[in-house]
């Protein structure tokens, strides 16, 4: 077991190298687009996982923060000409502020009814933005002004630039998760997730810790929202507050491994790879195929491997390493 951290570091280094040179090697815009989607949804998954995975507060309404991030930066950009880089942070702050009253309401409920209440909050925001015609363009939405290649306004000609932004976001999300996982906060979160009453009994202020992690999770999700509208140059309430965003955030974490550092990343890679394969086999015309397959994978994971597929990978790896060692020892004895 001593050797694992060193191997872990090596793997991580190799992975980082591959991920960094990937857009240089891959020039197909379709493939880059898929890679950007993977990074973005892995990042949203990581943000969701902080709350849904570690504290087991299973939100199905993270689209609320995605949408607030998207709208804040877009309104600042179009109405006031403020750079989306600042708008991104502003969106994060708006999302944090919104998470306070939303949390105050929803944390009164546990388990499935917490999930339902969060769905309702995201839906209410979407319905409200459909009504805000004057300053948020109502149901028609708006396209973002194309300013050419202007890095200061988060607009680039090269798709690779978006790739690296998404990569940095994901790295930040993972670093925050890593730090929290190893701090007192991580232990408190897991305690609340395991048994809220027991955690309260030993002196954990469950409500406060949930509120804190909700702030962080909302902030990160909002960053993803800003990035996404800047990437697709379009915003409307149905895109920004899409229920699919809430679903996918939870889905990738669960399939990969809920409450683990790398779970959302593994889950996103698996699901997006499946989706890309399906698209190339069937073409884009088969509405429903992708989500049919996603839901079958989800049901299979829940029934056979509720801790997620990351566990399967690490176990297989451990078994391989173990088998290699015993083989080596046998070889020595034989010799």
């Amino acid at each position: 077991m001593r050797r694992l951290p060193r191997w872990g570091g090596l793997w991580l280094g190799a992975l980082a190298l591959i991920v960094l040179v990937l857009p240089v090697v891959v020039s197909n815009p379709f493939a880059i687009d898929i890679l950007i989607r993977v990074l973005l949804f892995a990042f949203i998954g990581v943000a969701w996982n902080l709350m849904g995975g570690y504290a087991k507060q299973l939100s199905l309404g993270h689209a609320a923060y995605f949408g607030l991030g998207a709208y804040t930066s877009t309104i600042l950009l179009i109405r006031f000409g403020i750079s989306p880089w600042i708008g991104m942070l502003a969106g994060g702050v708006v999302a944090m502020l919104a998470s306070l009253p939303i949390g105050a309401l929803c944390f009164r409920l546990r388990g499935p009814y917490f999930a339902i209440a969060t769905i309702a909050t995201a839906q209410v925001l979407m319905l409200l933005f459909l009504k805000f015609r004057d300053f948020a363009w109502g149901a028609e939405g708006t396209t973002l002004p194309n300013l050419g290649n202007s890095p200061l306004m988060m607009q680039f000609d090269a798709k690779a630039a978006y790739y690296y932004i998404a990569l940095v976001l994901l790295a930040i999300g993972l670093a925050i998760t890593y730090r929290i996982e190893r701090s007192w906060m991580g232990y408190y979160l897991v305690a609340v997730g395991e048994d809220e009453d027991a955690a309260e009994a030993i002196g954990v202020n469950a409500l406060r810790i949930k509120r804190h992690i909700y702030l962080i999770s909302a902030f990160l999700t909002a960053l993803a929202g800003t990035f996404y509208v800047q990437y697709i140059y379009f915003i409307d309430p149905n895109t920004a507050f899409s229920f699919n965003v809430s679903v996918e955030a939870a889905l990738v974490s669960i399939v990969g491994g809920i409450g683990t550092l790398w779970g959302p990343v593994i889950g996103t890679v698996l699901l997006e790879a499946t989706s890309a394969l399906l698209q190339s086999w069937l073409g884009g015309s088969h509405g429903g195929v992708q989500l049919t397959v996603y839901s079958l994978i989800l049901i299979a994971v829940i029934l056979w491997r509720p801790t997620g597929l990351l566990g399967v990978l690490t176990e297989t790896y451990a078994r391989l390493v173990h088998v290699d060692r015993t083989r080596g020892r046998e070889a020595l004895l034989d010799g």
Partner: protein, 289 residues
């Protein structure tokens, strides 16, 4: 003005009867099996498609096809409990929530593949007819749906209070372990509870078909209403869910009438959030059915 309000209230009550069938199913499963069935709306959708195909292929009236959709969905419910839900009962929140959630996604998207996203409607002799009571206008199809929904709810109430199986169900809901000690087989009771809940959803589907279009996502409208009604009416409380559903139908209808056509859902969601803020345990106290 008064006439407009009265008309909105009547419309709301009539559609509230359908909401009641769905939310009674959700609250029954929650009360007995302790699972929130996110896929309840999709079984309404299946009920609608059953009635649609019986009507278009064999010319069977949607109201008559109730006798097909209810038993079919009862069997589906028993299988659902036996093959899927039973396996996650001992696991935590995550598998319990996301199993039925995944099932909901699956059913919607399979329906999309099989039937496309097109709206399907059935014309019946009574689809366009209405009766006038004073200045009130009452659509016959909705009136029939409401009456049948109330009759079915009444039958369920009698079943829960007057039959051994119904009493066993309430006992298992109150305390599963003690119920087992009294010789109640919880697996059987759970299967019946989920079966009955799905049969009610199927009934809702058939009753809707004469005046509401069927499409793959149609269940989402009803399940959201049902969730709010179930919270409002106190989790697991059948009578509470019934009253809350009627209230929500009226609230939605008034919202549409006085705030705007797309504001019905906002009113309903705001009711949910307000309830959570002021009275998170619902309006009707504990387990009182």
């Amino acid at each position: 003005m008064l006439a407009t309000v009265a008309q909105a209230v009547v419309n709301g009550l009539l559609i509230g009867g359908i909401y009641a069938l769905v939310s009674i199913g959700v609250t029954l499963i929650f009360g007995v099996v302790k699972i929130v069935n996110f896929a309840q709306g999709e079984f309404v959708m299946i009920g609608m498609y059953i009635s649609f195909f019986l009507a278009t292929r064999f010319g069977i009236d949607p109201l008559v096809s109730l006798v097909v959709s209810m038993p079919v969905l009862f069997v589906v419910g028993v299988l659902l409990q036996h093959c899927l839900i039973r396996r996650v009962l001992a696991l935590g929140d995550m598998p319990q929530i996301f199993l039925t959630f995944a099932l909901s996604l699956l059913l919607i998207n399979v329906a999309l593949l099989l039937f496309t996203a097109n709206y399907r409607t059935v014309q019946t002799p009574y689809t366009e007819t209405a009766i006038h009571i004073g200045s009130l206008y009452v659509a016959v199809a909705k009136l029939i749906a409401f009456v049948v929904a109330m009759v079915l709810s009444g039958i369920l109430w009698v079943f829960l209070h007057a039959t051994d199986l119904g009493k066993a169900m309430r006992a298992a809901a109150q305390n599963r372990d003690v119920a087992m000690l009294m010789g109640i087989n919880p697996d059987r009771v759970f299967c019946v509870a989920v079966g009955v809940a799905l049969a009610l959803a199927g009934a809702a589907g058939s009753l809707l078909m004469p005046f509401y279009p069927a499409y793959p996502m149609v269940g989402q409208v009803f399940v959201l209403m049902a969730f709010v009604a179930v919270v409002l009416g106190t989790l697991g409380n059948v009578t509470g869910a019934l009253i809350a559903s009627l209230m929500m139908g009226v609230a939605e209808s008034l919202g549409i009438q006085f705030v705007g056509a797309d504001s019905g859902l906002i009113v309903v969601f705001l009711m949910l959030l307000l309830t959570l803020a002021l009275r998170p345990s619902g309006l009707f106290g504990g387990w009182t059915r």
